[in-house]
Symmetry: C2
């Protein structure tokens, strides 16, 4: 979920100084329209990593807009009176009326995240608090509120840098004077717990928008733009029960996606390839015959651009395995029987037993890739698929299934080269169809779908593994090595 908020999103100074005045004017305009219509309130939650600039964001928005129509609710501990009431009571008091904007720095999530920082989760109380929040937001949404939740993210490195920088300047030194060392030390575990909260509480009617916050310009502009879009969209479309109008998928302002950060040309020469492949295949073979492997099952998912080399990679994996313990499932269009069932049904029936490995050559992600791009299902359907898929994979993980997902990425040029090769080499001709050429025309739409997919379905338990695949040898080794590494971890 947080991967694409760790890739160094940036906005240059000039763009910023051009865009901000425009954005401010539009925000104030929207604010006035909102205030005049008095049809719905706007609820903004700002949460995120410590030092990511939650306060700054709220200050900036207040500066940009008319602060008379914004109510800011800062973070603070509950008073003794508030402790006498149900936990949500104080937030009920603070709800903005229709026509106004309420910004919550300290929100209903604050106690949850505090518990996480202390390493507490998965208690019955915690689960109930979470469930309560989800119902609370559902109720607000049903009552017409526009809810936008920002998660301001910093990678561990960015966090360290920020702390160092604050310590350097006399005016900001105090902020880090009594720094809790746990903030940096426990970063990874906090991040993965926070991620699970963000995923679980991202509902269509109250989505989290994850914002990389290493550069304040990018952060502020992203938050302002997203808020503007949310208000405008509701002013325009009104309050419908449909998901479509409320669940935004945000294109990053700098147009930079996770895929853009890959160096697709990672190279490996033939000799190294042969040697490394042999080594990792050997590891994989031994691990799959480990005694404890009988308590485990493995689900391998291969997705990637057309001609990215999925088949070749799969053969290198299966070559290291015993045919009796594994099965390959090539996934194409669903059968009649499958069409008469929920879309995940055909994957449920192909799940491996303990001690077995299932290889999916394309998978349930078709829903948010080809079906989205080609319009085979409605936006409502592919939007809800993200959380259904996360839920599905979580169920698998809990049942001791190891889910490893690969995206094999090649460049547009490399694809062209391979397509042409396929047309000219006789034994490869069967691999290229008019469909492939048609898909290629939708390259940009696919890139966007892939970025969204990775953002929304890469979880701590089953992260996407992005494989730079312009060099097939590099790709194959990375795939086999990753599986061996993950298995080694799981069997430890």
């Amino acid at each position: 979920m947080f991967e694409s908020a760790e890739i160094g999103h940036k906005i240059d100074k000039q763009t910023y100084s051009i865009q901000v005045p425009e954005l401010r004017a539009s925000l104030v305009e929207a604010q006035y329209e909102l205030n005049e219509a008095r049809q719905f309130p706007v609820i903004v939650v700002v949460a995120g990593v410590e030092f990511a600039g939650r306060g700054e964001v709220i200050n900036t928005l207040n500066e940009w807009m008319d602060p008379r129509h914004i109510q800011v609710h800062a973070s603070r501990a509950a008073t003794s009176v508030e402790l006498e009431y149900p936990t949500l009571w104080r937030f009920w008091q603070d709800l903005p009326p229709k026509g106004k904007i309420g910004m919550f720095f300290g929100s209903w999530y604050t106690p949850l995240f505090r518990e996480l920082a202390n390493g507490n989760k998965n208690t019955a109380d915690w689960e109930r608090a979470m469930e309560r929040i989800i119902r609370f937001e559902k109720m607000l949404a049903d009552e017409g509120a526009v809810i936008v939740k920002f998660w301001l993210h910093l990678s561990q490195d960015a966090l360290k840098k920020r702390i160092k920088k604050l310590g350097k300047h006399a005016e900001t030194k105090w902020k880090v004077a009594n720094l809790d060392p746990g903030i940096v030390k426990n970063y990874q575990s906090f991040k993965s717990l926070a991620e699970s909260v963000v995923i679980e509480s991202s509902r269509a009617h109250a989505p989290w928008i994850v914002v990389e916050s290493s550069q304040p310009k990018f952060r502020n502009l992203t938050v302002g733009t997203a808020l503007l879009q949310a208000i405008r969209s509701r002013l325009k479309h009104g309050h419908t029960h449909s998901i479509t109008s409320v669940a935004p998928i945000h294109q990053p302002l700098d147009q930079l996606g996770l895929l853009d950060t890959l160096n697709l040309d990672c190279a490996l020469d033939r000799n190294d390839y042969k040697q490394q492949l042999k080594h990792h295949q050997g590891r994989l073979h031994r691990l799959a015959h480990h005694k404890k492997f009988q308590d485990l099952s493995v689900v391998l998912v291969f997705e990637g651009n057309d001609a990215a080399g999925k088949g070749g990679a799969i053969r290198r994996v299966t070559g290291a395995l015993d045919v009796r313990q594994m099965k390959i499932h090539p996934i194409s269009a669903p059968t009649d029987e499958e069409l008469a069932q929920p879309f995940l049904w055909r994957f449920w029936r192909r799940l491996p037993r303990r001690g077995r490995i299932a290889v999916f050559d394309r998978s349930w992600y078709g829903r948010v890739l080809v079906e989205r791009v080609e319009g085979y299902c409605g936006q409502d359907d592919w939007m809800r698929a993200y959380s259904e898929i996360n839920e599905f994979e979580e169920e698998l993980s809990e049942a001791n299934m190891l889910v490893i997902k690969f995206w094999l990425a090649i460049s547009k040029d490399e694809q062209l080269k391979r397509f042409k090769e396929r047309e000219h080499v006789r034994f490869k001709k069967f691999k290229i169809t008019p469909d492939d050429w048609r898909n290629r025309e939708k390259w940009d739409a696919y890139v966007r779908a892939v970025n969204d997919m990775i953002d929304r379905t890469s979880t701590a338990q089953s992260p996407w593994v992005l494989v730079e695949a312009n060099n097939k040898w590099h790709a194959r080794v990375k795939v086999v090595k990753t599986i061996a590494d993950r298995l080694e971890d799981a069997l430890r």
Copy 2:
């Protein structure tokens, strides 16, 4: 939730023998239309109290319909293979395809109810399992499935009778030969836990229908009719995301409501009244000055027919209390400020602190009474209000607030008498308005709304107290006594 399934619903033999052939024909017809359209599957869950006849209901439906298009999934323990998979895996295997009906005797709820029978709830695992079920059903509904869940209910007495009857006959004796005595002994605690499950998992897209099962004829006919309605409604309206078309409120077949079971004329003579009132007011006064009362707050809700004597009853309560510790909130039309907020907001802001008592003369139940009947809010809104109210009151209970809700019921004749008296007695004239006469014309609509309200919002923690109020003296004593009793319990 289960109250109106304990009032002895019955269908006479003749009605049954006339209605069954008609129902069967319609069911088979609907089944064929469903099968031809192949647009959605129908998922029927049958659960309930032990011995309530879950198996019989499924057998009856199979007899009434074409069993070739019904898949029955019986209750059984998971096999060793199934244990290797996620818990929902076996149910995924059993899902009916579009056009078919799947009946689940043993369903995804079975493990949950089994845990309840053992007294386990509120563990993190249990909460997660519940959350998973809710998401599973949401996904099925989003994929188009019609989901109908029946809770077959027996009161404790009816259960005892059933067991006794089974033991009497040679052919059924075996059913109770190795009876677990806990089934009767732990009935009350199982019932209140089961109720909370039924409330929590009753969503608009997958509602529970509670069916009194003391008489098999009533039970079978109710289940058959509800199933028919659910299928027909979808065939007619298609799959919309709106709540309205899917969340049924079922009028009982025998037209008998909880209110009908009250003996409104409970009498009390003047001397007994004076003496008993004094006694219970004394108790109430002492309890409200109990040391432990400082850790508690009390929310009293008064609802009732117009002229049922709410004001008089409230005065008898407050007469026993210290004015400094209590506050009366007469609830009428919301202010502008309140209209700009979610409907529960105006009640949240009136909640009492610890050691205080808030008396609501009319309350948040206006949403499902006057607002429903007069059409001040849409059906979607009042339908979701039931669960929002339950959630609200649960939050209050968890924060140590005692919620006591009274419905003061008078007969239509008694109301007329009182209205006329109000018109003729000078100092009572202010109490009667043209509105009262208009409301009276909608008597039947109100009766239905009240019955639904009690069915859906009477919970183990905050049950509705129905007060027979044709005799004011009886009503007042019952109100004061009930509050004293509940307080005594809470302070123990």
